[in-house]
């Protein structure tokens, strides 16, 4: 069975600084996707960034980037130039490559951004 582990229940960062959230996963599949979702206090979860396992290049979306280490089964999220609006619960998630597959989530990391 696939598992996703986020070992940092809470993290904090100073505004404008950089923070890295950790995620590891376990799977025997070769075709899969990894995601970082953000859930702000208003509770609607939104996609931050996605990575396709067959792509070696790390995904980036503006201030958000990932460090995808396939052999180590590691998928960390780096937030650069942190902003107050980045404060949220961040969930790492995995799913098979097949369309419609369900997500497997980690426990989440609560990120606090200090002004």
């Amino acid at each position: 069975a696939q598992t996703v582990t986020q070992s940092q229940p809470e993290m904090s960062v100073q505004e404008a600084e950089t923070v890295t959230l950790s995620c590891t996963y376990d799977t025997s599949e070769s075709d899969y996707y990894l995601f970082w979702y953000k859930q702000p206090p208003s509770r609607q979860m939104i996609l931050v960034i996605r990575q396709e396992a067959y792509k070696q290049q790390n995904a980036t979306e503006n201030r958000f980037s990932v460090n995808f280490q396939k052999a180590a089964k590691s998928f960390s999220l780096k937030i650069s130039d942190s902003q107050l609006g980045d404060a949220a619960m961040y969930f790492c998630a995995y799913r098979w490559g097949t369309s419609g597959s369900r997500l497997t989530f980690g426990e989440g990391t609560q990120l606090t951004v200090n002004p």
Binding site: Y37, S42, Q44, M45, F91, S99, G100, R102, L103, G108
Partner: protein
């Protein structure tokens, strides 16, 4: 385009009562998922609809939970009778069918408290 909407946003019920949660997916999304997060733990999969059919209900905790998706549109999740351990946040998500790289779009969740 309207996003995934869930009703109610909060519900407080007594043990033994019945509660029905509703989810309206994004129009045209054949895939509809229910997930649940109990206090401080990971978000767990409950079930997956493709249109009106249950594709995977392996995550449903027991027969007190009943999910339906009328005509392949909105979905309801009924808990009868509710127990204390059913408390948590229930998320609904939808995605289009047949696209490998698509993300799931989430609603804001329903916070259920059983007292």
């Amino acid at each position: 385009e309207a996003g995934v909407t869930q009703f109610p946003s909060h519900s407080v019920i007594e043990k033994g009562q019945t509660v029905t949660l509703r989810c309206d997916p994004i129009s045209g999304h054949d895939n509809l998922y229910w997930y649940r997060r109990v206090m401080g733990k990971e978000i767990k999969f409950l079930l997956h609809f493709v249109k009106e059919s249950k594709q995977d209900e392996s995550g449903m905790p027991n027969n007190r939970f009943l999910a339906e998706r009328t005509g392949g549109t909105y979905s309801t999740l009924k808990v009868q009778p509710a127990e204390l351990e059913d408390s948590g946040v229930y998320f609904c998500a939808s995605s289009p069918r047949g696209r490998r790289n698509t993300e799931a779009f989430f609603g804001q969740g329903t916070r259920l408290t059983v007292v």
